[in-house]
């Protein structure tokens, strides 16, 4: 274990992981711990285990429903970029295509473009 606690107390791996999850490390300790965390799978497991245990503190809490407008805000922010388009916006390329096709057909007949040379 290369991460050292502040002062000269040697770190005990597991407890530093707990302090990290609780947010009790100072900035320098946290940075050192996170550097170690990136290369140490065991340490990562320790962090996950502490997170799991500490999260059970929340089991005691009385649930509080958030106001309904919060969901509307989240929905708008999450799906906002891909809002449903009005029908005419979905249909106009098809309509334009249809108009163009009709115009071509009309032009073809009108200018007699479809006359074939008489077969001999």
């Amino acid at each position: 274990m290369t991460v050292q606690r502040g002062g000269n107390t040697p770190d005990v791996k597991g407890t530093m992981a707990a302090e990290y999850v609780l947010g009790l490390l100072d900035e320098a300790e946290r940075a050192a711990f996170e550097a170690q965390l990136r290369v140490d799978a065991d340490l990562e497991q320790d962090v996950a285990a502490w997170r799991t245990y500490f999260a059970t503190f929340a089991d005691d809490l009385e649930e509080i429903p958030p106001p309904p407008q919060l969901w509307r805000r989240i929905e708008a922010a999450a799906f906002g970029g891909e809002k449903r388009k009005p029908l005419w916006q979905i249909l106009w390329p098809y309509a334009a295509g249809a108009v163009l096709a009709s115009a071509c057909t009309f032009a073809a007949f009108y200018f007699d473009l479809l006359t074939f040379a008489p077969t001999p």
Partner: protein, 179 residues
């Protein structure tokens, strides 16, 4: 609250951008997460901001909880707690210092309502063996984002002493939890 199995399935669907699953996940988990955020933050508005941030992250990265090695609900609680503590710290730097909520002593059977996971029961058992008010201190550190200074203040001890003491308790806790 939904069962872990259902939560797993729900999260997989959210990871595949299933909007209905996302709405269902919100309905089932938001009241618990709002309660977590309100432990740390003093106003509803701040807690709502945190929840919005958390759910957007979930929508964008629902697959990540497996990589983090957590069960879905523990992952959601962790995200919310950390986001709320971050928000509290940023706001504390720029504005007034919000007081920590009053906290009664840690009650050993406070959480025995409803179904408890095995992890929760074991954790509670191990906590009850810690000396003095260390279980309460850990709870305050987690739920309220209290640092060593804030934890030591009511006890009249130095923050460094508390840290050494809590360090011993964390070691004991780790052994008790089996690793």
């Amino acid at each position: 609250m939904v069962l872990e199995d259902d939560m797993d399935r729900l999260m997989s669907r959210v990871a595949m951008a299933d909007r209905q699953a996302f709405a269902k996940l919100y309905t089932h988990t938001a009241p618990a997460l709002f309660a977590v955020a309100l432990q740390v933050l003093k106003t509803d508005a701040e807690a709502e901001e945190v929840l919005q941030e958390v759910y957007l992250r979930v929508w964008q990265r629902a697959g990540q909880y497996r990589g983090d090695g957590l069960a879905p609900m523990a992952w959601l609680i962790s995200l919310t707690r950390d986001a709320a503590v971050d928000k509290r710290r940023t706001d504390t730097h720029s504005g007034g210092h919000p007081p920590l909520p009053d906290e009664g002593a840690f009650e050993q059977d406070a959480g025995l309502r409803g179904a408890q996971s095995e992890a929760a029961l074991r954790f509670r058992q191990c906590l009850s063996k810690l000396p003095g008010d260390h279980a309460t201190a850990l709870r305050r550190a987690y739920l309220h984002g209290a640092g060593y200074a804030a934890l030591a203040e009511p006890t009249g001890r130095a923050a460094g002493d508390l840290r050494n003491g809590l360090g011993q308790s964390l070691k004991q806790l780790k052994v008790c939890l089996g690793g």
